[in-house]
């Protein structure tokens, strides 16, 4: 995962925000805090899309499907193709440096 430095956080969120708006996503809620900014949006067909900057600059992307009626279907048998890290305590920290995105990071 790429390290996004505090200095580049604004650019990063700007790029995402622009892209989402251009795709017709509706902004549901935004946290403007410089340390832990977050964007919560919704696509036209009801998918929830979130970008959360968490502790130590860790960035979380999340997508969830629109609400459906609860029904008796089995859990999905398709495995994620990469670790989802959902709810984990020891999520690895970003470790890939990019000349642009990581500029100024310690």
């Amino acid at each position: 995962m790429t390290i996004v430095s505090a200095e580049r956080r604004g650019n990063f969120l700007g790029v995402v925000d622009r892209s989402w708006r251009n795709s017709g996503y509706r902004m549901k809620s935004i946290n403007n805090d410089p340390d832990v900014p977050a964007i919560f949006a919704q696509t036209e067909d009801g998918f929830g899309v979130s970008l959360i900057v968490g502790g130590e600059g860790q960035v979380f992307f999340e997508v969830d499907s629109p609400c459906v009626e609860k029904s008796e279907v089995a859990e999905s048998t398709t495995k994620a193709t990469a670790p989802t890290y959902e709810g984990m305590e020891n999520i690895p920290r970003p470790n890939v440096r990019s000349p642009f995105w990581s500029a100024g990071a310690p």
């Binding site: 935004i30 959360i52 984990m88």
Partner: protein, 596 residues
């Protein structure tokens, strides 16, 4: 008629209680080995399989391994009970052995002889009333009713006769008691037999519940009720820490229901005990066919399902019980190692059922995940540790009862958070109490007892109909540590004060909160059912941004949806993320909302 005990005093004297205890140790070792095996299956094999394998074969292996894990848990439970039964048997037999030995020692000191049948022969002594010659010796036997026939100076003037009679009574008493103990324990041990075969169905667990009860009855004198129920959680923690490993294992085997629900006991221990309780309770409820049992069973099954799914954050069962409306305390993340711990107190009509197991647990889970974005060392707990009111006909009729439930619940909540503080391994853990709906009234009541909620740094109130005090600063954590989420379309947060209530027919489906439509439309009033509106400026808490929620009257009539989505990162991302920040100890970063 008393049947002649087959046991003789010689046998009782020579009984080697240490051998019984040796056997008990053996069963204890088996129990521990089974527990370790279950642990290995669940922690290593299942986790490894789930993470690395897919396909039907892996699925089948997971199912089989889960069954094997449960079988080991059953072995653990039953072997643990056997161990305590044998220890208890040895303990009781020792008591009788001691009584017998004292009687025999007395006989020896007096130079009496105790016959094989328990009769006591005594030598000549004293002097006759007539000629002054020593009175003849004789033999005394117990008539089985000691003390009933007082020795008469005329009939048995030999002073030894009375003493001999007393000794004979004591010997017979010890033997009789020992025979009774033997008979009683033989019955219990006979019960502790498992069915043949490798399946451990719920019916067998039902038997195990009965087994535990039987052993508990018998072992009362041996293990004593030394569990310090009246002590503070910190004292209980010290009590537990001071026990030997063997004592702890025996308490866990015989009193899982008490140890599992005792505040001050470490989370891992409570979890282990409650895993047992869960299985025992499922087995017990399986055997009943009333509606209440079925409802509760569905809740327990759902909790069990989630435990088996092995998701993150890991689940810890801090409480499971059948009392009142049911008890269930489930932590997502280990509350003893996490730096941030939140306890979520649910509200009206919550009870141990499938709805709680699904939705309330999800709230705690979502909260733990949300907090972990900001600090991975976080845990969140769904706390059903009290009887939430089950109102069905509006607040008006139950107002007094409601306040009382909140007081009782507040007391239990304080015990619980004191326990969290006592067992948390961090030097200064950050604790948050979260009250939803009526649960916020319970949190409010907790703050008004003693020195407030022990260890709690921050208080979150969502969907609150008032908390019983009129100012945030009265909650004991400082008004800038009280956070309020209140959706504009959440009808519960606009429940009018008691004197204004009129139950509007159109909104009747919103019961238990009897609401008048006119009051909802009129925003000028900041008095709610349980006092000042926590979202008002006068209350003085920090109001955080939440989604307004769906409108009051949806396509299918009145809706209470806006009251139920504060924790849901999908339906109310603003609220859920703010709660996550507060729980993670970063409340200065929340997005705020203007006062109502």
């Amino acid at each position: 008629m008393t049947p002649t005990p087959a046991l003789t005093w010689v046998e009782l004297r020579d009984l080697k209680c240490a051998e019984l205890e040796g056997a008990a140790d053996g069963w204890g070792k088996s129990s521990n080995r089974a527990d370790a095996a279950r642990d290995r299956i669940e922690q290593q094999l299942l986790t490894g399989l789930r993470d690395t394998q897919e396909g039907e074969a892996a699925q089948a292996a997971v199912t089989r391994l889960r069954q094997l894990g449960r079988n080991f848990q059953y072995v653990y439970t039953e072997c643990g009970l056997l161990r305590t039964t044998l220890n208890s048997l040895a303990h009781e037999m020792r008591t009788q052995q001691r009584a017998l030995k004292e009687a025999l020692d007395d006989a020896a000191a007096l130079k009496f002889t105790v016959g094989a049948d328990g009769s006591v022969t005594y030598p000549a002594a004293g002097e006759a009333l007539v000629d002054g010659a020593p009175l003849r010796g004789g033999t005394a036997t117990s008539n089985g009713l000691p003390g009933l026939v007082p020795p008469s100076g005329l009939v048995a003037p030999n002073p030894n006769a009375a003493k001999a009679r007393d000794i004979a009574d004591r010997v017979a008493g010890a033997v009789r008691a020992a025979a009774e103990i033997d008979w009683r324990y033989a019955g219990i041990l006979r019960r502790l037999k498992a069915e043949e075969g490798l399946k451990v169905p719920d019916a067998t667990w039902r038997d195990a519940a009965g087994d535990a009860a039987a052993v508990r009855d018998a072992a009362g004198a041996y293990l004593k009720d030394a569990i310090p129920h009246d002590a503070s959680p910190a004292e209980r923690r010290d009590w537990w820490a001071g026990l030997t490993q063997e004592q702890r294992e025996e308490y866990l085997a015989v009193y899982p229901d008490q140890i599992g629900n005792l505040d001050g006991i470490p989370a891992l221990t409570r979890d282990a005990a409650n895993l047992d309780n869960l299985r025992l309770l499922i087995g017990e409820l399986e055997g009943r066919d009333d509606e209440r049992s079925a409802t509760r069973l569905a809740g327990l099954r759902e909790i069990d399902r989630q435990l088996g799914a092995g998701t993150q954050p890991p689940m810890f069962l801090l409480g499971i019980g059948d009392e009142g409306n049911g008890r269930a305390i489930v932590s997502f993340g280990n509350p003893d190692t996490a730096k941030n711990v939140a306890a979520y107190v649910p509200g009206l009509n919550t009870s141990l059922d499938e709805d709680f197991a699904t939705n309330d647990l999800k709230r705690a889970r979502d909260t733990a995940i949300g907090a972990r974005y900001h600090d991975p060392s976080s845990a969140a707990i769904a706390w059903l540790g009290y009887d939430a009111p089950q109102a069905i006909d509006g607040l008006g009729s139950a107002a007094v009862a409601l306040d009382w439930r909140a007081m009782e619940g507040g007391k239990s909540l304080n015990e619980f958070t004191a326990g969290l503080s006592a067992t948390n391994e961090n030097s200064d853990p950050h604790l948050t109490a979260i009250g939803h709906s009526y649960g916020s009234r319970t949190v409010g009541a907790a703050t008004q007892q003693g020195d407030g909620i022990p260890g709690v740094d921050d208080i979150v109130l969502v969907g609150s109909p008032g908390v019983g005090v009129d100012r945030a600063e009265d909650l004991g954590v400082g008004s800038d540590h009280v956070f309020v989420g209140s959706a504009e379309n959440d009808v519960v947060t606009t429940v009018p004060s008691k004197r204004e209530v009129v139950v509007g027919a159109a909104l009747r489906p919103l019961a238990p909160f009897g609401v008048d439509a006119g009051d909802i439309a009129d925003p000028g009033n900041d008095d709610l059912w349980f006092g000042k509106d926590p979202a008002s400026e006068a209350f003085g808490a920090k109001r955080f941004r939440v989604d307004d929620g769906p409108g009051l009257v949806g396509p299918v009539g009145p809706s209470i949806a806006a009251h139920s989505q504060y924790f849901d990162p999908k339906r109310d991302a603003a609220s859920a993320s703010n709660i996550g920040l507060i729980v993670a100890g970063r409340s200065s970063k929340i997005s705020s909302q203007e006062y109502r």
